[in-house]
C-alpha cells in the first residue's frame, strides 16, 4: 500500500506553494518529480567521486564506473531482462526510437512495412517517417476506436510478410489505453517475422514489467518520467537482436579497434554508447529504480489503478467536461479533457491560479487530435505522490475555471 501523505515528504518540491496554494502537480505524464534520494545521489557523485567512466585507472573513476555499470543490473532486474548487456543507455525514448528506426530500417528492403497506431506519441512516429522516406518503406497505422482502444481486427489485417517492424505505445499518454501486449506479440509472431517494439515511456513508470513474460523484442524507457533525472533513458532489446544491429552513433567508448580506414565495434551494450555517457544521470536513474523497487511495482500499479478509478468517477461528474479516456477495465491514470467552447490553454492557465499543474496542447499526439477534431486538450496524469485530494482539487478548479471562462 502506498501512503501518499508519507511518501510526499520524500519529494522536496511539494514544500512549494503556487499562487498561494498548495502545489497540485498533475503533469507527471510530461515529467515526474524527484525524490531526495535521486537528488542526493547525483550530488553525492559530483561531490565525492566524479570522474569519467571506463577510462581511468584511479579510485574515483573505478568507483564511478562501478556505480554506473551497477545501474544496468538494477534495470535488468527492474524489467526482468535476460542480461544486463541488453540495457542500452540513451537520452530517453525519443533517442531510443531514433536509434532503433535508423539501425533497423537500414537493413530493410524497399516496400517493407512498419506498423504504428493512430495514437502514438510523435517520438514513435517521426523517426519511422524519416527512415521510411530514406529507405522507401511503408507505414501503416492501426485504427484506434471511438472508445480509444486499438482495433485488433485492423491490426490483424495489416500484418503480412512485408511487415518488419511493429511499434506501439504500451500506455497511452492521452487516453490511458493499455493495449494487450501479449496479444499483440502473439499476433505479430504468428503472422510475421517482424520485431515488436513497445513504447514504455508511460508504461514502465506505472506498471510492473517483465519483458521475458511479455515476449516482446524491444522496449524504450524514459528515465525522467519514473522519478529519474532528465537526459537518461534505456533501450532494452533481446541480446541476439542487439548483437545484429549496427550502431548509429560513432565515437569514443564504442569501439574495439580503430584503424585509419576502418574500425570494429565493442560488444553490446557499449557499441551503442558512443562518447562520454550521462553517467551521473544514469546513477540518478539507478536511485529512482531503487525507490520504485522499494515501493514495489505491484503497489505502484495498484495505486495507479485505484487513483484512475477515483479520478474517472470524479471527473465524469463535471458538467460539460469531455474526457478522452478508455472505458476498459484497466487503464493508466491519464485524462485528456476538453470543454466545448473553451480553449484548453485558457483552462490550464486558470487551473494554474488554483495551484494545479496540468498540460495543455496536443501532447505530441497531433494526428490523433486532428482525427478527433480537437486543436488542443488539457491533460491530468496521476502518479505515486498523487491521491484523491489532488483530483478533488482538480475537479473543483475545473468547475470554477469553466465558470470564469464562460
Amino acid at each position: 500500500m502506498i501512503k501518499v501523505s508519507d511518501l510526499k515528504k520524500d519529494f522536496p518540491i511539494f514544500d512549494r506553494e503556487i499562487n498561494g496554494k498548495r502545489l497540485t502537480y498533475l503533469d507527471s505524464g510530461a515529467t515526474s518529480q524527484k525524490p531526495n534520494s535521486v537528488i542526493n545521489e547525483m550530488t553525492n557523485v559530483y561531490t565525492n567521486m566524479n570522474a569519467n567512466v571506463h577510462r581511468g585507472t584511479y579510485v574515483l573513476s573505478s568507483e564511478t564506473t562501478a556505480k554506473y555499470e551497477e545501474v544496468r543490473n538494477k534495470l535488468k532486474n527492474f524489467i526482468n531482462a535476460y542480461s544486463s548487456d541488453e540495457i542500452i543507455f540513451a537520452k530517453g525514448c525519443t533517442e531510443g526510437f531514433n536509434f532503433l528506426a535508423n539501425s533497423i530500417c537500414k537493413d530493410l528492403n524497399a516496400g517493407d512495412e512498419i506498423i504504428l497506431s493512430e495514437i502514438e506519441h510523435h517520438a514513435n512516429i517521426i523517426p519511422w517517417q524519416m527512415a521510411a522516406a530514406k529507405y522507401n518503406l511503408k507505414i501503416n497505422y492501426i485504427n484506434v476506436s471511438e472508445s480509444f482502444e486499438l482495433d485488433f481486427d485492423h491490426l490483424e489485417s495489416l500484418l503480412n510478410k512485408n511487415t518488419k517492424v511493429v511499434s506501439i505505445v504500451g500506455e497511452s499518454n492521452i487516453s490511458g489505453m493499455l493495449p494487450d501486449i501479449k496479444k499483440i506479440n502473439s499476433l505479430v509472431k504468428d503472422k510475421t517475422d517482424a520485431v515488436y517494439i513497445v513504447d514504455g515511456a508511460q508504461l514502465v513508470p506505472h506498471r510492473k514489467i517483465d519483458v521475458q513474460d511479455l515476449g516482446i523484442d524491444f522496449l524504450c524507457v524514459s528515465g525522467h518520467k519514473m522519478l529519474g533525472p532528465t537526459g537518461i533513458g534505456v533501450v532494452w532489446g533481446r541480446k541476439e537482436l542487439l548483437e545484429n544491429l549496427d550502431p548509429v552513433y560513432g565515437g569514443g567508448d564504442m569501439i574495439e579497434e580503430v584503424f585509419y580506414d576502418t574500425a570494429t565495434w565493442a560488444p553490446i551494450p557499449h557499441k551503442f554508447e558512443a562518447g562520454t555517457p550521462p553517467y551521473v544521470e544514469a546513477i540518478g536513474l539507478g536511485a529512482a529504480v531503487d525507490y520504485l523497487f522499494n515501493l514495489d511495482m505491484n503497489n505502484v500499479q495498484k495505486h495507479s489503478d485505484d487513483l484512475r478509478e477515483y479520478a474517472k468517477n470524479k471527473l465524469g461528474n463535471i458538467d460539460g467536461l469531455n474526457i478522452i479516456h478508455t472505458n476498459s477495465k484497466l487503464a493508466g491514470c491519464t485524462f485528456a479533457m476538453s470543454v466545448d467552447g473553451v480553449h484548453a490553454t485558457d483552462i490550464s492557465l486558470m487551473l494554474d491560479t488554483f495551484g494545479v499543474a496540468v498540460r495543455a496542447g496536443h501532447h505530441c499526439v497531433q494526428p490523433f487530435h486532428r482525427k478527433l477534431n480537437l486543436d488542443a486538450t488539457f491533460r491530468a496524469t496521476g502518479y505515486i505522490y498523487n491521491d484523491e485530494e489532488d483530483f478533488d482539487i482538480l475537479s473543483n478548479a475545473i468547475e470554477e475555471s469553466i465558470k470564469l471562462l464562460t
Partner: protein, 137 residues
C-alpha cells in the same frame, strides 16, 4: 496617446489586480469587449506563429498610421492580443519600429508573459514590428 503612455495606463490598470486569476479575468473582459473580428480574416496569412492557441493580427494603414485588428480562439490570449493591438494601433510605423518596450518587464502577467516560455506575446510583438518595418521602409 503615445505608445509609452498607453503602456503606462495598462500598467496602472493591471496593478489593481494583485493575483494572476484577477489579471486573467481582466484580460477575458478585454477579449469579450473587443471589436468583432471578421471570420473570413481567420486565415494563415494573418496567423501569428509561436502561440499555443491560434492568434490572428491584421494590420491596416490609414493616413500613415497603422491599426491592428486581432483575434484568438482562446480567451486569455485574445485579451492579451487585444491589449497589445490597442497599444500599437493609431501609431506611425516608425514609432512602432523605434519603440523598445519590454512588455514582459512592464506587465506582471504571470506565466503568460514569462520569457522562458516559447512565447506567444513575443510572437505578437514581432509580427507587429515586422508589419511596421515593411511600411516604414
Amino acid at each position: 496617446m503615445s505608445i509609452q503612455e498607453k503602456v503606462e495606463e495598462y500598467k496602472k490598470t493591471l496593478a489593481l489586480f494583485p493575483n494572476p486569476q484577477e489579471k486573467y479575468q481582466y484580460l477575458i473582459e478585454q477579449a469579450k469587449k473587443s471589436e468583432d473580428f471578421p471570420t473570413e480574416l481567420r486565415i494563415d496569412e494573418f496567423k501569428v506563429n509561436g502561440c499555443q492557441s491560434q492568434v490572428w493580427l491584421v494590420p491596416e494603414e490609414k493616413e500613415n498610421k497603422l491599426y491592428f485588428k486581432s483575434d484568438s480562439d482562446a480567451l486569455i490570449a485574445k485579451g492579451l492580443v487585444t491589449l497589445i493591438a490597442s497599444i500599437y494601433s493609431d501609431e506611425a510605423p516608425k514609432d512602432i519600429v523605434n519603440s523598445e518596450i519590454d512588455l514582459m518587464e512592464e506587465f506582471e502577467l504571470g506565466v503568460i508573459l514569462s520569457p522562458a516560455r516559447r512565447n506567444g506575446a513575443f510572437s505578437m510583438l514581432k509580427t507587429i514590428k515586422e508589419f511596421s518595418q515593411k511600411l516604414a521602409n
